[in-house]
Point group: C2
Chain length 465, copies 2
């Protein structure tokens, strides 16, 4: 039902410009890079923008079209809606600010516009937002100044609904650059005067390209339906709910003019609906990236730990236990297989500190043999793996561990350390093998905990229904 | 009293080799790169190692010397101690493994060796460790395979006491590469059969080069004295105590053969002694790096927040409040100064989302003017700053914010985002300006919280004494 936004037949850019210091230039440029349909820049000052004919106003566009992107001052919106109605427009993405988030005057324009658009059957997206990016169609309707997305944006199963431009622009690009963040749709919703997170959630749950949905939300409109939708789907849903505190809630008012609601009520409701709640920016992206590679799972929280250093194993054991996860009790067969990799004077233990074995037999041989023994062990539900990007080995073993992950259907989290540029090479090798990489041990543990809770909850909800 | 380890007059390397796949080669190579005194490789198989004369045994070394580094199998240690005694040796750093961490046999060798060394007045460091690095003398007595430290190791005020080789080698190098991690001494203590963390803590508290002490410890020998020392000093002490859980404590046994003690007892005692407790690897390093740039502070927890995006400000406000920190109530003067930077239609709020002002006036002018107004505001105790490494600005404003930090003596934490290579450039600019950089907002908040607690505690302890 929102297809006219995601697969529009013709798009006007109202506020297009040739001035590359302005967002109106970048909306056209970004659209030109990916969108396959017809683009109509609109600005009375130009006859051409980026080699496209530019129209003085919406009325002058010679054909009907589905969608408009709006990037001129707020006060012109009502007239623009009327003009768009005459061109058969179904949806307008309003990327300008200056609406309800700036005070009563802007609020009135916003409310009047919603009423007017409703009369004409036009849906409004935004205002005060950055539109969306689609990794499959490569439609990017955003005033994002950088076109680095043309190399970084890869089609994948992660969709995001964000009430923050940064998370759909600069921060998202940083995540994409690190790798493993392959995208279905990233929707920046701003003040969400009409199209809102619950409607988008429903759309994305039905979207065959979307496997995981991450949300940064300052408020939730129609919370009851949002929770029902979350409960109804097997797709993992991760939510960073901002404005939980008094000062945060106050700040939400001036950011997207939303009422943020009670922190406790949200947390309890999220848990019951099987939503993974997170509290910080990287955490949101880490979880989304992790779940995107962990589609199915046998619930249970018994984790095996393979490290390159004794200290890392101990810190992992502490963090697992403190979260209520269990260090797996490796079977005698597994311990015997590990023993063969170790020098005679050293008994393997769990967490498995592989360093003495690596010294003896090399990284790749040891990691592959140890992972094979551990992943086939029925006492193991998941694996936390430390990898160290160093000169005296190759990341060739990661593909094999990725294969074992798929074979046994057990989630894996990788704690990756090392210096650049090797570190990036290892990270890429892991992500390409389907192994999500995290910067802190605690983040690996939090991810495995979320995976356990998500799939346990989904199993329980399936039994109830 | 441990000076013979840190400023040794002559060092023998027992187990030196020409085989660069072995640690005994790298100990000599690392020592040669920095140590100014005489080096005596010892190995009956070679007459020369790295152009140094090599001796068949300790007895053949023609002079007395202060220190030996031991890297041959455990069983030869007692004889080596006797030989060293004949050469006036004061301390031996034992880097080999195979002692109490591998079982009763190794344990007996270790205990016998300690008794024997005591008879001869020789101190033992290790075993099962990686020696130490000194950023000022550039003494590096470690079998670390990489010599990247020759470019990364910079003299500074951070000292570390770590019961994990990784934290004094691969992981440390990664931290140094990121910048801002300037080192006094990094001591890897292993099984700590004789020299232990409490003795080193005392030494480092007296060390004029050391300003901050970070510890990764699996156990604490002489805990009472450790806490007394922590209470007595103004130097921030950060401790990652591993082996808090049952499974972690079990793993400690097989890593460094230590008894780890009760988690609750440690946490309470740490808090009372003004120790900052951390729970993960990066967290330990982040806190050490942050405190190294935050030497003095006016206690109080009222934090100002400047961001590039509304969402970041709201998440920050939530995390501050959830930690018991207070979002500063900016004065009318400060708000008026901010108003001048903003477009007329936008009222500044706090957290200050600078994006509308940046669009109007550019990043540098806005960040400098906003930081000046905020840092001089008496209602502000500290600043949390988001910086975004992008193409449309320069990191030139960071030096000025560093100057304001020093002028007003108020701590600053930077949340840095952006793509490489710009991100690294901004990070360096911040660290060089004395502004510690963190990857997550929550880490910035945790740091400012630790700073507040540390200096509040130190003030209270000074009043008591």
């Amino acid at each position: 039902m929102l297809d006219f936004f995601f697969q529009p037949n013709g798009v006007a850019v109202i506020g297009a410009t040739n001035d590359n210091r302005k967002g109106g230039f970048h909306i056209v440029r970004n659209a030109l890079e990916g969108y396959k349909g017809k683009l109509y820049p609109v600005n009375p000052k130009y006859s051409e923008i980026l080699e496209l004919p530019c129209y003085p106003d919406v009325e002058s566009i010679p054909e009907n079209f589905d969608m408009a992107v709006y990037f001129i001052p707020a006060k012109f919106l009502p007239d623009t809606i009327r003009a768009c109605a005459g061109k058969g427009v179904k949806g307008i993405i309003i990327e300008s600010a200056g609406f309800s988030e700036v005070g009563p005057e802007g609020k009135k324009i916003q409310e009047d516009s919603v009423a007017l658009a409703r009369e004409h059957g036009i849906r409004l997206w935004g205002p005060n937002c950055m539109g969306y990016l689609d990794g499959h169609s490569r439609n990017v309707f955003s005033f994002m100044f950088s076109n680095i997305w043309t190399t970084l944006l890869k089609p994948g199963n992660v969709s995001l609904i964000v009430q923050s431009g940064m998370l759909s622009a600069g921060f998202l690009m940083m995540m994409m650059e690190r790798g493993g963040m392959d995208i279905s749709k990233v929707c920046s919703i701003g003040n969400k005067c009409d199209v809102h997170e619950t409607e988008l959630l429903e759309y994305l749950i039905d979207d065959p390209n979307t496997g995981v949905i991450g949300c940064y939300l300052e408020s939730i409109i129609d919370g009851r339906k949002f929770l029902e939708l979350a409960r109804s789907t097997d797709k993992p849903i991760i939510v960073l709910k901002a404005g939980r505190s008094n000062s945060g809630a106050k700040a939400v008012m001036s950011h997207t003019a939303s009422l943020s609601g009670s922190a406790d009520v949200y947390s309890g409701a999220f848990r019951q609906a099987g939503i993974v709640q997170v509290y910080d920016m990287h955490e949101l992206m880490d979880m989304a990236r992790g779940f995107s590679k962990t589609a199915a799972y046998r619930p249970g929280g018994k984790t095996a730990v393979m490290t390159f250093s004794g200290g890392a194993g101990i810190v992992t054991a502490d963090l697992l236990e403190e979260r209520g996860l269990i260090l797996a009790d490796l079977s005698a067969d597994t311990m015997a297989a590990l023993k063969e990799l170790f020098p005679p004077w050293m008994e393997p233990a769990h967490p498995v500190d592989l360093w003495p074995a690596v010294e003896q037999n090399g990284v790749s041989a040891v990691y592959i043999a140890a992972a094979a023994a551990i992943m086939r062990d029925p006492a193991v539900d998941s694996l936390l793996l430390e990898t160290f990007a160093w000169e005296y080995g190759k990341p060739d073993y990661l593909a094999e561990i990725g294969r074992l992950k798929k074979q046994y259907n057990k989630p894996v989290a990788v704690w990756q350390i090392g210096r650049s540029p090797l570190n990036a090479m290892y990270r890429t090798a892991s992500e390409e093998a389907g192994l999500p990489v995290f910067d802190e041990i605690s983040r690996c543990v939090a991810f495995l905990d979320a995976v356990k809770r998500h799939f346990t909850k989904k199993k329980a909800l399936r039994k109830c229904s």
